[in-house]
Amino acid sequence: MRNVIAIGLALLAAIGPIDAQAPSASRPTPAADSLLDARTREVASGLRCPVCQGESIEQSPAELAVELKGVVREQLAAGRTPEQVREYFVARYGEWILLEPRPTGFNATLYLVPPLLLLGGAVVIVVLLRRWTRAGAAQPAGASLDDELLD
């Protein structure tokens, strides 16, 4: 069985056992939008749903994800900062609960290498261009008409 188990488990947890009573009759109705909601959404979007494949607890329908989101909301309401809330989860689930690795220590390479690569490549292109166009031969300009008739 592939990871349909993860999705399926999430859904099963959401609907409860089919033959038992009252599955999830008491799903919390979302409150009206507010600053707390927005902050909750933001922190929750950065936390991975532990029983899903690649979803955040903000997106996921799984019941555990909903509970985790509730915890985020409670802690934010109690005055904790987003960073403290994240630290709470990391202390219990490990670093992988964060959907985006913290940019500290070795993880910094993940964030630094691509921009450096881009910068380095751009520099090389600029240098080469300078070198070649300075030595460039004279050619008739206005070749655009050619292009419309030719390929």
């Binding site: 069985m1 592939r2 990871n3 349909v4 188990i5 999705i7 399926g8 488990l9 859904l11 099963l12 959401a14 609907i15 089919i18 009573q21 009252a22 599955p23 999830s24 799903r27 109705t29 979302p30 979007s45 950065g46 991975r48 494949q53 690649g54 997106q59 996921s60 329908p61 490990g94 670093e95 992988w96 959907l99 985006e100 690795p101 220590g105 993880n107 993940l110 290498v113 691509p114 490549g121 751009a122 292109i125 261009l129 070649w132 166009t133 030595a135 460039g136 031969a137 050619q139 008739p140 300009a141 206005g142 070749a143 655009s144 008409l145 050619d146 419309e148 008739l149 030719l150 390929d151």
Partner: protein, 679 residues
């Protein structure tokens, strides 16, 4: 019977691919020619694997549970269509399918090159045989679908429920394989050209049609995959940067860079090193992607179980990686440029920047995908890299690429003048401003979305106006009327205008992606019978829940009525499917698509007696334009590769060292264009 036919076919093919590879390499190395034996072997293998695949389909459809693969994924209660397509539903069958597509491509390559008899083709045939050999070894060894099962079971578990839910599953994997496996052909040509030392424009032109075709299939496959994900997985999204999605996306990126950069090589004999590297990277990424998702190295929605197959793939990657990089590096002296960049504001420079952006993009995705592995190796800690990272790091690159999409067509080859540039960029610039204003006026406030819409408008006009310019040039020079001029312009330059059409498709899809991500809204509520919830312009009223027994599953659906401005406009039924083989349900969202937005309903929970249901509703703008854009891209590919018509690129003086002799004949003499000299 099918077992015998299939398995013996594979064994014979394995022997032939070994013989064919050796014969091809020896003939190319010793005599600089192709090997008739290798050619025949390619045809025979194509036939053998076709038969083997057909045999497996027969076994699946007739529920022959003595065949190990059928015992694994077959079931008497699976509908016919899904029985057929379970050919590629699990590991062994997908490898069988891969081998079938690969040998078919090899046969096609041999056929279309039958009039050529040089070392490049010879080596290329050898490489195709060698790659086929690997997959045939897998089929005989760890991924044998034709094993014998005794005692023969009466029934099987059926394919994975997720694969039975939607007809797009019939379309996405074959397209993906046609694209993915198709990238083996340009790779073979590249290795052939490197080994034979003949790196003129010839090799890139020979592979161009193959690469564009494979690219077209891969694009279609990715779009189909996104569409399937959207319609089936029930979270309202279509791209999650899951490792398997990345595995298909990375070769697409390098292949896209290649089909642009190859034009520079054809015209100016430049960027050869780039092109060969891009082609080799594309193939390596396809094998890498397969390795990552099938060997249990990374966890993904698509991963098949681990097992010994990982070691086989690792060995294959090692061989291919080492061989291609060593040969590339060793023969790199032959990759010198024949021309030079003349100006920063030229199409050559634009393509060079294009290459850089796509390469960094690919590297970023690769790094993010592999980073959990790297972190575990170096820090011993498990980390995860999810969508937020990829979105954050690639959005700026996408913006830059969008801008380039608009500027590129405006830049001619070699160089241009500021006036020329201004003339070409006037309309696109106006479109940029207009798009920005309109988006803002309609309520868009997200910075990236605003920039994205602005650049999309810019690039859209930049590409569409090329049709206008082309038609106008013909009207002026040849006196044709507008419609004729347009049609003839396109027909005479299929590759160019097909390419612009594909650009338009990409831009339309981009607009869809921006709108549906930035302006999505969602709401979830628990409703009793008759109660409603509002989202956006819609009101969703819950009516009743029903259940239905089907042979392979039990379906529960909730009927809802959708109203807008008080009037009933539709009724929908999001569903949950409970399959026999699995205790977890699979969701089928109900999607109502209009040009303006999608209303997306997911059944989250329901009560046994139907008195209450929990429904999540999402409104996503412009989603349908993503799929439409994809179709337009494919249309552009069809136009671009349509055979016949147009001048051959070599007629435009791409010969090394030549400086466009034809241009003298076509351009009005310099003296008449410069008034002073006309006196």
């Amino acid at each position: 019977m099918t077992r015998l036919v299939g398995y013996s076919g594979i064994l014979v093919a394995l022997a032939l691919s070994l013989v064919g590879a050796v014969a091809a390499f020896v003939a190319a190395a010793r005599r600089g020619r192709t090997s008739p034996l290798a050619r025949s072997a390619a045809y025979v293998n194509g036939a053998l694997l076709l038969v083997a695949n057909l045999a497996m389909v027969v076994a699946l459809v007739t529920n022959d549970f003595s065949v190990s693969y059928v015992a694994q994924v077959g079931s008497r209660s699976t509908p016919l269509l899904f029985s057929i397509i379970s050919l590629w539903g699990a590991l062994e069958g997908s490898i069988l399918f891969w081998a079938g597509v690969l040998t078919a491509y090899a046969a096609a390559v041999v056929f279309t090159s039958r009039r050529r008899d040089d070392a490049t083709i010879g080596y290329a045939t050898g490489v195709l045989h060698a790659v086929s050999l690997f997959f045939l070894i897998l089929l005989v060894g760890p991924a044998n679908p034709f094993g014998l099962v005794t005692p023969v079971p009466f029934d099987g578990p059926g394919p994975n429920p997720l694969l039975q839910n939607h007809v797009l599953m019939a379309v996405h994997p074959p397209l993906l394989y046609l694209g993915y496996v198709g990238m083996t052909v340009p790779f073979a040509y590249a290795m052939g050209a490197l080994l034979s030392g003949k790196l003129d424009a010839d090799w890139s032109r020979a592979t161009r049609r193959w690469t564009v075709t494979a690219w077209g299939f891969l694009t279609a496959a990715i779009i189909a995959g996104m569409w399937w994900s959207y319609e089936v997985l029930g979270w309202g999204g279509y791209w999650a940067w899951d490792p398997v999605e990345n595995a298909s996306f990375m070769p697409w990126l390098t292949a896209t860079a290649f089909i642009h950069s190859t034009m520079v090589e054809e015209r100016r004999g430049m960027l050869k090193g780039w092109n060969v590297t891009l082609v080799i990277s594309t193939f390596l990424l396809t094998i890498l992607g397969t390795f990552l998702t099938r060997s249990g190295v990374l966890s993904s929605v698509h991963s098949f179980a681990g097992g010994s197959i990982g070691y086989y793939f690792l060995s294959f990657i090692a061989v291919v990686l080492v061989a291609s990089l060593v040969i590339l590096a060793g023969k790199s002296d032959a990759l010198k440029s024949e021309g030079r960049l003349e100006s920063a504001a030229s199409r050559e420079t634009a393509f060079l920047v294009n290459n850089l952006l796509f390469t960094v993009f690919t590297f970023t995705v690769l790094l993010g995908t592999l980073y959990p592995l790297v972190a575990e190796a170096i820090r011993g800690v498990k980390v995860s890299v999810g969508a937020p990272f990829f979105n954050q790091m690639t959005l700026p690159l996408c913006m830059a690429l969008l801008f380039l999409l608009g500027v590129g067509p405006a830049l001619p080859w070699r160089r241009t003048t500021p006036e020329e540039l201004r003339r070409k960029l006037l309309a696109p610039g106006a479109a940029l401003a207009l798009a920005l204003v309109v988006a803002f006026a309609l309520g868009e406030r997200d910075a990236y979305a605003l920039a994205g819409f602005a650049f999309t408008g810019f690039a859209l006009v930049g590409n569409l106006q090329e049709y206008l310019f082309g038609a106008r040039a013909r009207m002026r020079a040849l006196g044709e009327r507008a419609p004729t001029a347009l049609v003839r312009a396109v027909a005479a330059n299929r590759r160019r205008y097909g390419g612009y059409l594909s650009h338009v498709g990409v831009l339309v899809a981009t607009a869809g992606i921006i709108a549906s991500s930035a302006d999505k809204s969602e709401h979830e509520a628990t409703l009793r019978r008759g109660e409603s919830m509002t989202i956006g312009r819609y009101t969703v009223r819950y009516d009743d829940t029903w259940g239905r027994k089907e042979p392979q599953r039990f379906v529960v659906g909730s009927a809802v009525t959708v109203l807008r401005a008080g009037a009933v406009i539709d009724s929908m039924a999001p569903r949950l499917n409970f399959y026999n083989m699995s205790s977890q349900p699979v969701t089928t969202p109900a999607v109502r698509t209009t040009a303006r937005e999608d209303l997306y309903l997911i059944l989250m929970a329901f009560e046994q007696d139907g008195s209450k249901v929990t429904i999540k509703a999402i409104v996503e703008p412009f989603v349908v334009w993503i799929w439409i854009g994809g179709l337009v891209v494919l249309l552009g590919v069809v136009v671009a590769v349509w055979p016949g018509g147009g001048r051959r690129p070599s007629a435009l003086g791409a010969r090394p060292g030549a400086s466009r002799p034809q241009s003298a004949a076509r351009t009005p003499q310099p003296e008449t264009r410069i008034p002073e000299l006309a006196r």
